[in-house]
């Protein structure tokens, strides 16, 4: 359980935006600003944060769909950012993505079977009958019929489409699956089915998940450890239990307070966030969270808190608990 699978070190992704036609003024969006993250074999690491905090970008960088500005990503102790050509192609077999929107993640002009089996052709795995059989198996594994192989995406429902997306991700037998908001585009009743499917598949195929979501309820259901992201930085990271029991960062507290509870008579401490996430073009000084923080202190305006161990491996970046 404690074998390191993926080690992200000092990852940064800056987007440069040119504004003005002649002036050539540039502003920099710090989508990811120095993230360190470890993922261990067989676990599910949940990554939560509001939209725009950089969590999707992080997933795309790890799967090498986007290049970071700086940093290193060690996968089985090799820096995958240095990969190119064949090495990169082989790396892609190990890391697969599940996308948020099942309506745009499937090619409308390809049948379900062609979508699921495409990667087997690209990597020259199995031929003819054997490949067909594997694709059919994959369909069954994700809860679809092999009779549906010839159908096109528009003939499936949203939940079924997401299952096809999952089957596509599994086709290459990856060790790490990055699930980028895999259920947020689905109905609540379907969400539970897909989440349970992901859990079953994890047990069956020894998968490691990087589970990205804005919904702490969903992440809590899925994850062993949880990292909370705010404006391109990890602000708190620990195992699920201690995050729920003793959240240090006021942002985490606010996210936890936003999770609906089935029992309406339960009284909870309410932390309601004011305002929107600030623009990453011009992040606030000091602690990026201070303009929205209910417990803001003077120090927060000027000095950026470091991500420190608050005991028992519970990391948090907040002056309050220092």
């Amino acid at each position: 359980m404690n074998d390191l699978l993926l080690d992200i070190r000092g990852l940064k992704k800056y987007f440069i935006i040119r504004s003005g036609f002649l002036s050539g003024r540039r502003s920099v969006v710090k989508a990811i600003d120095g993230v360190d993250l470890q993922i261990f074999k067989g676990e599910t690491l949940g990554l939560v944060g509001e939209s725009g905090c950089g969590k999707t970008t992080l997933g795309r960088i790890v799967s090498r769909l986007e290049e970071p500005t700086s940093g290193a990503i060690l996968f089985n102790d090799e820096n995958v950012l240095l990969y190119g050509g064949e090495q990169l192609k082989n790396f892609r077999r190990n890391v697969q993505l599940i996308f948020q929107d099942p309506y745009s993640s499937l090619n409308p002009r390809m049948s379900a079977g062609a979508i699921v089996g495409e990667s087997l052709g690209i990597h020259n795995i199995l031929k003819g009958k054997e490949r067909e059989e594997r694709v059919a198996k994959l369909m069954e594994v994700v809860g679809l019929n092999r009779e549906q192989l010839g159908r096109y995406p528009h003939e499936f429902s949203g939940g079924q489409r997401q299952r096809i997306g999952i089957a596509r991700a599994l086709a290459l037998n990856p060790s790490l699956v990055i699930a980028d908001e895999p259920v947020s585009a689905l109905d609540v009743s379907i969400q539970a089915q897909i989440l349970n499917l992901l859990k079953d598949l994890q047990a069956e195929f020894d998968l490691t998940y990087l589970f990205i979501s804005h919904d702490l309820g969903v992440v809590g259901h899925m994850s062993d450890r949880i990292a909370v992201m705010y404006l391109g930085k990890i602000v708190e990271m620990t195992d699920r239990k201690s995050l729920y029991k003793t959240p240090y960062h006021p942002y985490t507290k606010a996210l936890l307070a936003a999770v609906p509870v089935p029992n309406p008579s339960v009284k909870r401490e309410k932390t309601v966030l004011k305002g929107d996430i600030p623009s990453p073009i011009n992040p606030p000084s000091g602690c990026a969270f201070h303009p929205r923080c209910p417990f803001r202190m003077d120090i927060c305006d000027t000095i950026e808190p470091e991500l420190l161990d608050k005991g028992g491996g519970h990391l948090a970046a907040c002056h309050l608990s220092n």
């Binding site: 795309r60 892609r92 993505l97 996308f99 409308p108 002009r109 990667s119 690209i122």
Partner: protein, 277 residues
């Protein structure tokens, strides 16, 4: 989605009329050896410039050849020129548009500036100049019309690629290790074909018109090979005594071009009703 298309298409009477014209032209040109009443090149000097009659429905020309037969054979020439020229235009346009849209940055800038330069030339005069230098054969005409007509398709395909390449299914294809070639031709291009199809249909009409004009000017399809354009040339010389030599090929060109335009616009409207203006 497919049945929606046919439903909207069949409801559009003008589009159906265009389709009927186009289908008729196909039938006529494929069956021309069987349905033309005379050999199109058979000269009958005893029967020069005779007006339409039972023997010669559309009359005869200045060499006594049957105009109807020549027009039936000319339909095949028009069709061939239209499709081959448009095929060349699509081939060049789709590939350049795909590369420009997919790779972006300087590749895009270079290709699109080249498109702008090509669009600056008045294409008909460019064709005239090229044909004047080269030999005016039917193949040269097709190639030149094709190579001066790809720019619009490049722009269309590029625009589709720019929006489609950001879609998740393209990212997913990259994620499973698909090559650029595969992504461009297997994933994006099939999704960009709808607008190409419309442009192609309209392009066929344009190519037929250009071919007729060139033949009319005597640098297109060379006699004795029949073409609507060179029948018109004969008509021009004899317009005061043989109206049928001008009227019938002129009508044929008009109806054909109209038919393709109606069909193309019908396809466009049926593919996406929001495009209808």
């Amino acid at each position: 989605m497919k049945s929606d298309f046919w439903y909207r298409f069949l409801k559009n009477k003008m589009a159906v009329a265009g389709a009927v014209v186009v289908i008729l032209l196909f039938v006529v040109s494929f069956l021309s050896p069987f349905i033309s009443p005379y050999d199109p090149n058979e000269i009958d000097l005893t029967n020069v410039l005779s007006s339409p009659s039972e023997d010669h429905l559309f009359g005869t020309d200045q060499l006594g050849r049957d105009v109807m037969s020549r027009m039936i054979w000319g339909a095949g020439i028009s069709l061939k020129v239209g499709f081959v020229a448009t095929g060349i235009a699509i081939f060049v346009g789709a590939i350049l548009g795909a590369i420009a849209g997919y790779y972006g940055r300087w590749v895009d800038a270079v290709i699109m500036r080249f498109v702008d330069i090509m669009l600056c030339f008045p294409s008909f005069f460019l064709i005239l100049a090229v044909i004047a230098i080269l030999e005016p054969s039917i193949w040269n005409i097709m190639i030149v019309i094709g190579l001066t007509g790809w720019m619009g398709i490049t722009r269309l395909v590029r625009a589709d690629f720019i929006s489609l390449k950001e879609r998740d299914f393209v990212q997913a294809a990259r994620g499973i290790g698909a090559s650029d070639f595969r992504i461009i031709f297997r994933h994006i291009l099939p999704n960009a074909m709808a607008s190409v199809l419309v442009a192609a249909t309209l392009g066929v009409a344009g190519a037929i018109l250009t071919e007729s004009a060139l033949s009319f000017l005597g640098i297109g399809v060379q006699p004795p090979t029949p073409s609507w354009g060179n029948i018109l040339t004969a008509g021009k010389d004899n317009i005061d005594i043989a109206w049928w030599l001008s009227l019938y090929p002129g009508l044929a060109i008009l109806i054909t071009v109209l038919g393709y335009n109606l069909l193309g616009e019908g396809i466009r409207d049926s593919l996406d009703p929001r495009l209808r203006e």
